[in-house]
Amino acid sequence: MSLKKREIAPASSPEATLTAHGLRKSYGDFRAVKGVDFEVYRGECFGFLGPNGAGKTTTMKMIYGAAVPTAGELVVAGLDVARHERAVKRRIGVVPQENNLDDDLKVKENLLVYGRYFDLPRKLVLQRTNELLDFVQLTEKAESKVEQLSGGMKRRLLIARALINDPDIVVLDEPTTGLDPQARHLVWDRLRELTRENKTLILTTHYMEEAARLCDRLVIMEGGDIIARGSPRAMIEEHVSPQVLEFRAGHEVLEALEALLDGRADAVEHTGEAVLAYTRDADSLMAEVREAGIEADNTVYRQAGLEDVFLRLTGRSLIE
């Protein structure tokens, strides 16, 4: 496998490797994905950010053939998924949300057997297996049983398995959900390495930090619709002011704060346990709060993030 950098210079106008037009999926009366449009460019990391039930996984499933679109057009690697099921699957790698490694096979055998599903020559599969175990730092576990691996190791093995066919596009459905922070950082590190090798990554997440760290561009999904799109920075600039004051206090204090901040801050959100004030000048806003004599000791100042974009657009936070 070419784990070395591929010599494809980024073109002046990026080339789309995946295009969705009016893509829709219904299950009976339930409309899981309500007609979305998006384009993924070659070599970028493209994210789907949104809460559970937003339609992210359904969209991923339509890309890798586990769900058939109800309507719309989906072209992956130049091929219409409706007509070229097998050919599309040959060009992509899939890291599913739930572990579905083959427990009857050892770590290394999981990759060897998976490689056979792609009709790859035995020698090539063996060579890639060794390279990929090295890449995901599981070489020492090659002969272990899958059930002996930790959650993070299983996820890394799933990533290695998704790369066995040297895919153009790697689809990752919540690649770090349920992992502890160290394991999560290790996965992020490997994914960044893949983007350096010019692989196209498409991932879903409900962690805004993950989206902000990894994604060149992303869409935010909510209730089957795309409600915002762009690079993380552009989305934050477009939808929220750059600075945030997070006030945490008793109910009455928060009410008073909300009344005071209304009109003074660019935007105010009341999330139940906190009042968030979006502003370009946190210092003077804070001064005004102190002047008004409101007790606001438990206040955090931070930069605005994607979570704030989501909150602005939906009035809800990403992770309930």
């Binding site: 099921e85 083959d102 009709d119």
Partner: protein
Amino acid sequence: MSKTNRTSFRLPSPRGSFRVWQRNITIFRKYWKTIMFPNLFEPLLYLAALGLGLGAFIQEGGIDGRSYVQYIAPGLLASNAMFAASFESTFNTFVKLKIDRIYDAIITTPVNAEDVVAGEYLWAGTRAALYGTGFLAVLTILGIAFDEPLIVSFWALLIPPMLLVIGIMFSVMGTLFTSLIERIDLYAYYFTLVVTPLFLFSGIFFPVEDFPAPVPQVAWFTPLYHAVNVCRELATGPSPAVLVDVAWILIFTAALALLPIRFMRRRLIS
């Protein structure tokens, strides 16, 4: 566009089916010694308990001029294949489908859902043939050792390939049931209402032809009856009538094979 994709039927590809079969044989090769033992041992229990135990009470002359042990031995070859293929296509397939989610992983590769099902048919048939060949060897040796030949015709060399076909037939039936159920407990129905009655009333232990109507007529419409006929005929030297049984098995299998493929595809692809 997608409507046609969803409902239009797709035939399995030989290559994809082979890959699924290959996955199973890879695992089987690691564990076959431990897996195969009970399957070889069980029919011997029937042979001992019924053939020798019950057989002692059966009048001299036995059935159709054969001793009771000689009568039931070839039929047990057929039921052994039925049990091997039925366990494979029920519990084992269910675990791969719903618990380990092995098929979900496979269908994201160029191997399609229909290939998965066809590969499993082939594997269940292979397993039935492997077990049956082992059992056939044991029967032949026992017959010689105890001077009561159980397998007396060279036509018996055709039994293993026939067990492959018989195994595929029962795999299709088991997979059909698997494709329709949500909970593993429901297999109790399949085994109690389908497999066990077939085992008891397909002419392994007594000739069903001697029963009053409609028992023989009903038996004719059930799959194990023909499988038992084929095995018994091949073990003792066949008459041309065996071709009817073979044809019955092939037609029944072909007629039913596409239905589970369709249902399983619907379960794997939403």
